[in-house]
């Protein structure tokens, strides 16, 4: 079985199995094997599939047959996941973590039948254990650690930077020179040994001498050895932490432990503060501006994202809470302290397959960010940052912030109104009959284009109007009409862009119908009262996607054939995605993503049908 597949298998199993919530609260087990360095965890409590879908029904899915083939080789033919020896009364926890020197991935789970388990994990070999009661099994990539009825399958990879640093250190300490021939201009010709020459003349007995001492490792061999040793050392450290000292994520982070008590089918945990700490993208800050980096770390302290996955009747809910520290929280709290702009609702048509509204108070957010971030930057003793701080402070003093933030207040909305044919022009080649002399003729044609609208709340309509008026003097492509501006060929060099400046909203769209026929909004054709209220009552953000309507209108020709096929297959599925945000304060923001559908099938089965559709497409078109 491929090693990589076993990690993927964990995900599949995690999506499929769990325990009852009651059992989890009373019997916390497998989660206590999670390494403390795990930054992201997806923990499955109970998807209830075993209650709602029988195992026999489950194993009949096409994608399950693939799992079976990978799990059970010839010697275990005819067996299914039921025979895998997993304890479905324990959680299954997938994790990913990264330190400055290592990456670790894997999952923890419970075992009900160890013999059966090893008929599945049949390529794991016994490894000597340093601890009594701890069994260790390994393959080249993965380690399986079992204690009592709990197990952790873990893969540890030292980062390449760490491997290189250690290797270089040993290499040069041994008195070696630079291992790469950077300065050799002409590549050395490789001498190829022709075995036939020696086979045809066995009496010559003259084999070429080895050019390198086989007892001494070259740079790459040394690097491979270093990698293995680092893996082993890190594994020893993880074993010591979890099984000797009892240090694990569950014991260490009460937020994670508290999340596990939720009566949800799945739990998600992402420690963004530690994620930031290990982010490779911030290496510049870490090395060149360590003080600033430390300040940023403090800013992100306490930033954790916690989520619950609930399977309800005809509905899947994903509820997310973003927690943050006081400094970051003060910025978010100010930013989200915005009144909903009800003017936007008039410009969202009732039939819109997908739309969103977004309400923020950019001015308050700016002021608070200025207050929080500027002192951090000011403290940094760096010429470039000092100049940037000076520029920022001067701009803050000189710019008319009131005019700026009245023009762009930060709130906006967007709609996708499907596909429409737009008029465009093409060149045709023609040839006269006399000599076939060639001519070019410009004719009108139509092209299909997705129709989007994006609008911004403004209290200073005069400013964009002023800009457009001057732009129109510079280019004949910009024209003023009674209710709107039109910029020719602005979209993909082919279709016009319309700008509606209503006085309270600045709207950009490629929808001619909106610009010409509905410059004051759709009136009765706008969103229904229920949807309007939902958008209005949501926090700083609301989004809605009608999956079949959106997919029906999606231009599949712009996709690759395979992706187009996936979209086509999903067109048969009903469903609606709704994103809402509720409370925002200095400590947290909560979001909710709901997927609902119409039909008699169970929620789990609906999801599995979707997964199976995707699987079939991919396997039928390898």
């Amino acid at each position: 079985m491929s090693q990589h597949f076993k990690m993927v298998l964990g995900l599949v199993m995690a999506l499929l199995f769990g325990t009852t919530a009651q059992a989890q609260i009373q019997q916390i087990q497998s989660e206590q094997l999670l390494p403390k360095d795990a930054v992201t965890v997806f923990s499955i409590n109970n998807i209830s599939l075993l209650q709602k879908i029988s195992m026999d029904e489950l194993v009949n899915y096409e994608f399950m047959s693939e799992v079976h083939q990978e799990l059970f080789d010839g010697s275990t033919a005819g067996k299914t996941l039921k025979d895998a020896g997993l304890d479905f009364n324990q959680r299954l926890n997938l994790f990913y973590g990264k330190s400055n020197t290592h990456e670790l991935t894997g999952f923890t789970f419970g075992i009900s039948d160890k013999k059966a388990l090893f008929e599945v994990f049949d390529d794991f070999q016994v490894v000597e254990s340093p601890l009594a009661g701890l069994e260790i099994y390994g393959t080249f990539f993965n380690q399986l650690l079992i204690k009592d009825n709990k197990a952790i399958l873990i893969r540890i990879e030292p980062t390449m930077e760490h491997i290189d640093a250690v290797t270089d250190s040993i290499w040069y300490a041994r008195g070696n020179e630079m291992p790469f021939d950077f300065f050799e201009e002409a590549p050395q010709e490789e001498q190829i040994l022709d075995e036939q020459t020696y086979e045809d003349n066995p009496n010559t007995n003259v084999f070429p001498e080895a050019t390198e001492n086989p007892a001494v490792k070259n740079y790459y061999e040394l690097r491979d050895s270093v990698q293995v040793m680092l893996q082993q050392a890190e594994l020893a450290r993880v074993i010591d932490e979890i099984f000797v000292q009892g240090i694990n994520l569950y014991n260490l982070d009460p937020r994670f432990a508290a999340q596990l008590t939720h009566n949800a089918e799945g739990v998600f945990y992402l420690d963004n503060a530690r994620n930031l700490d290990k982010s490779e993208g911030l290496w510049y800050f870490q090395t060149v501006l360590p003080t600033l980096y430390k300040d940023i770390q403090e800013l992100y302290a306490g930033n954790v994202i916690l989520g619950d996955l609930f399977l309800r009747d005809n509905k899947v809910d994903f509820e997310v809470e973003a927690q943050y520290g006081a400094a970051l929280g003060s910025i978010y709290a100010q930013m989200n302290d915005a009144k909903f702009d009800k003017n936007v609702l008039a410009y969202i048509p009732a039939q819109s397959p997908a739309y969103f509204t977004y309400n923020i108070n950019l001015e308050q957010a700016y002021e608070q960010a200025y207050k929080v971030l500027l002192p951090l930057l000011t403290d940094e003793k760096n010429a470039q940052i000092a100049m940037n701080v000076l520029t920022l402070e001067l701009l803050n003093e000189f710019i008319n912030k009131e005019a700026l933030f009245d023009t762009y207040k930060g709130s906006m909305f967007g709609t996708f109104n499907g596909i429409k044919k737009v008029k465009t022009k093409k060149i045709e080649f023609s040839y006269d009959e006399e000599t076939f002399a060639y001519q070019e003729t410009e004719t009108e044609t139509e092209a299909e284009m997705p129709i989007f609208t994006l609008g911004f709340t403004t209290a200073r309509a005069d400013i964009p109007e002023m800009v457009l008026k001057h732009m129109a003097r510079l280019s004949s492509r910009i024209q003023r009409f009674e209710n709107y501006w039109r910029i020719d060929n602005a979209i993909l060099d082919a279709a016009p862009l319309y700008i509606l400046n209503t006085g309270k909203l600045l709207i950009f769209t490629n929808d001619e119908d909106l610009a010409r026929m509905h410059p004051k909004g759709y009136g009765k054709g706008a969103l229904a009262k229920k949807e309007r209220n939902a958008a209005r009552q949501s926090g700083f953000m609301y989004g809605s996607v009608d999956i079949p309507k959106t997919l029906d209108r999606f231009p599949t020709e712009v996709l690759t054939p395979r992706n187009a096929e996936i979209v086509s297959s999903l067109k048969g599925k009903s469903g609606q995605l709704i994103l809402t945000s509720s409370e925002t304060n200095t400590e947290h923001t909560t979001f909710k993503l709901s997927y609902s559908y119409v039909g008699a099938e169970s929620t789990g089965k609906h999801l599995l049908d979707l997964v199976n559709s995707l699987y079939l497409i991919y396997t039928l078109n390898p």
């Binding site: 093409k426 080649f429 009959e433 000599t435 076939f436 060639y438 092209a447 082919a494 020709e557 690759t560």
Partner: protein
Amino acid sequence: MKYILVFLLIGLLSACIEISDDLTLNNDGSGTLRYKINLSASKVKVNSILALDSLGGKPVPSKTQISAKINEFVRILDAQVGISNVLVEESYTDFIFKFSCDFSSIRNLQDGIKVSIAQITNDKVTTAADQYWLSWDGNTLVRSIPSYVTQQIKNYKLEDAEQLKVGVYTSIARFERPVASFENKLGTLSKNQMAVMVRTNTFELKENQHLLDNTIVLTPR
């Protein structure tokens, strides 16, 4: 280079396209080749593709990269024996590309193109470009569509049949003296009898890569 070819392939075949190859042959075997690709009917689609970072897992080249590769081809071709006045017009507004060059013999023309393609790509095109697609004995011109074009068309999937059906390929041969006869049944003779034109849609060309092949016999001098 292969990314450029991927782009051209996408542009050429999945969009509504018009291709015109126009060969003017003098009595002494010298002449002019004009080649035009017109994607203006699909400029929305081409612009959409160019706006992407990658398509089908392959990077989409920028206009600058496309232009640089075309100009490299022109530079190499212009340096070949018997080739002169190589010109290219690129319009990235209407996506029309026009190429023309003069040649002293059709052998020079074919060799020049073969070498130029070989130098800018290590792709399969190089092998296909080994073949000759024109021959001229002073009275008879035997012509086909270059195999590196037909091969690409042949490889294309039928999924975009509708797009291919509205695409047009026009092949014109012009001479200094009247045409006595030609073999291709799709061909038409100009009223002045000095040029033969064969047109078909790109779908039919995919189905039969020899659809535009023609043997044209001129009247004696």
